[in-house]
Symmetry: C2
Subunit: 334 residues, 2 copies
């Protein structure tokens, strides 16, 4: 008989303790978590970044990752986008009764692996179990704390006319990988999620000396929503060139088949940056040396026209307004 | 037609932005959240406490509180139990499609009110929406960061033989209030959840000068599980007296009716403390001056026998071992 998660694993009693002590604590072995107090305690100083995200992706396993890897990378990336060095994170599980224990262990293993790659410590957590039918297999929340090095000032509201817009690589891979897995679609070549921790890429970008104004990872809502956020928060216009947007061929084909626009499809290992124009070429060089920035490209610029709006010059030479995502293209993509 | 939450409210696109900008940001008006960057940025220094909990309570509204108040108090209390002054928190919502907008607004209002009472700032958040049937109305995760004043050293592993065990008030109120609401039970007098932020009580306890070794809020798993955690982490025995345990009459009656033991029923506004014996009486005086400590009582002591175990002297004069909760008494109580 296969081991499954029972309601009692979320009771706060003996089964909860056994689950945590046998499966979580040894894996994330660190003095903070080992104490099993209500809070993790650590020393930090300076400007801190603090963020949270919940993950409800369906299915929980997909090509290139799973909900555990996503929960780590998402929070690491959110911290990185404020220029912070990610340090500590929490993992809180909401499990549907009946989840196979082997699935949970596999996901905890992914969390460990992703946290190791990113160099963050999982120091506190929580496990809740809800009765069958009250959740869909597993939801994970992660929150994180990082330290922003002195002098770093990055915000979605810092873009200025003349700046260049950079994208770290191809768009749409995560969303198409998840939807393909969910719907059982087969494409001639497989699409993998780009789910990755970007903190080291960001550290190298900060080391380049090029002035970075805005950084954001275009997850839900896609690149279009991220650029609209920059345009709105900074009260500037943004102009991008379709011809410069890196989109993998199979993703483009899948989008055409499914009626999606890659600009609105979620990514989990990409970043959009606005940088000072005079350093843009140097920044691309720096980024391409990192495995997560190999396809980095300048995709557009910040302008003082059409304030608050993003306009794309299409391959045909026409201009079209790229709105923020309206409605929901792909529910439960992250 | 009543406004309801749609999948698109969790898309990361326009409806997500409108929901956040119209309903969340104005309510929690603070410069950290207002920037709408991926992370909140603030300055802190010293020993920090960091904690997380997810809330899946059913029903989401119950006498004495709702899931929003619970999410704030739970995290405020977890931080307080490490001796930290709670400073900043995150709120992450997982909403089932179709939740009435009025319910969400009511809960956001409760979050605001509880955060104000506790003096913590909600600085970052996340909203996910899952399709109907994939979650049960609303789950909330909150994470929090606090600062531990110099000299404060509180941990579940610090209890020593001879110390006194203190309880801040009556047990079982939260669990019985929720289960009564869920099952539509009517008792002659109503039971209200004790859900409250305990940070000010803890601050007064720290100011008393009495040495506090362990602090914990007995939520899931009840007082029995908390005392067992102390006994196990500190490698000591704990002896309590049933006659000294504050239990409201209606809670006792409900427990007898439903076959529960109040020692295992969840609380959300109580704390158990282990303090140096010579300061125990003074501590009780200090606690009783605070509205959340009015029924504070010394309920037992730490001993060097039956290491790792909790033993209760019953009203009949017999001794019985009080184990950690085994199985699940009341699922989805918090």
């Amino acid at each position: 008989m296969e081991d499954k998660i029972l309601l009692a694993h979320g009771s706060g009693g003996k089964l909860s303790h056994d689950l945590v002590k046998q499966n979580f604590v040894p894996l994330f072995d660190n003095t903070f978590l080992n104490k099993l107090d209500d809070s993790a305690v650590f020393e930090l100083k300076g400007r801190l970044a603090f963020t949270t995200d919940s993950y409800v992706v369906n299915p929980i396993f997909f090509p290139g990752g799973d909900i555990g890897k996503l929960a780590v990378c998402g929070t690491v990336n959110d911290l990185s986008m404020s220029g912070a060095v990610p340090k500590y994170m929490s993992i809180a599980l909401i499990i549907e009764e009946g989840l196979p224990m082997s699935d949970l262990k596999r996901i905890i293993g992914s969390i460990k692996k992703a946290a190791q790659e990113a160099g963050v410590k999982v120091v506190t957590g929580d496990t809740k179990v809800v009765n069958k039918g009250s959740a869909d297999k597993l939801f994970i929340n992660s929150a994180g704390v990082g330290v922003i090095p002195p002098g770093v000032e990055i915000s979605g509201s810092n873009a200025r006319a003349g700046d260049k817009v950079i994208l770290s690589g191809s768009i749409g891979d995560h969303g198409i990988a998840v939807i393909s897995q969910r719907e059982g679609l087969q494409f001639s070549s497989s699409v993998k999620s780009d789910c990755s921790p970007l903190n080291k890429l960001v550290a190298e970008m900060l080391d380049s000396g090029v002035e970075i104004r805005c950084l954001r990872d275009p997850t839900r809502g896609g690149l279009a929503s991220t650029l609209n956020e920059f345009a709105e928060s900074s009260r500037v216009g943004i102009r991008i060139e379709e011809a410069n947007l890196p989109v993998h061929e199979v993703v483009q084909a899948a989008c055409e088949l499914l009626g999606f626009d890659p600009l609105y499809v979620a990514n989990e290992g990409k970043l959009a940056a606005v940088v000072a124009a005079n350093g843009a070429e140097k920044m691309i060089e720096v980024m391409r040396r990192n495995k997560y920035g190999k396809e980095a490209a300048i995709i557009g610029e910040v302008v003082s026209e059409h304030l608050g709006r993003v306009v794309m010059k299409t391959r045909m030479g026409a201009s079209r307004i790229v709105d923020m995502l309206v409605g929901e293209q792909l529910p439960r993509i992250c």
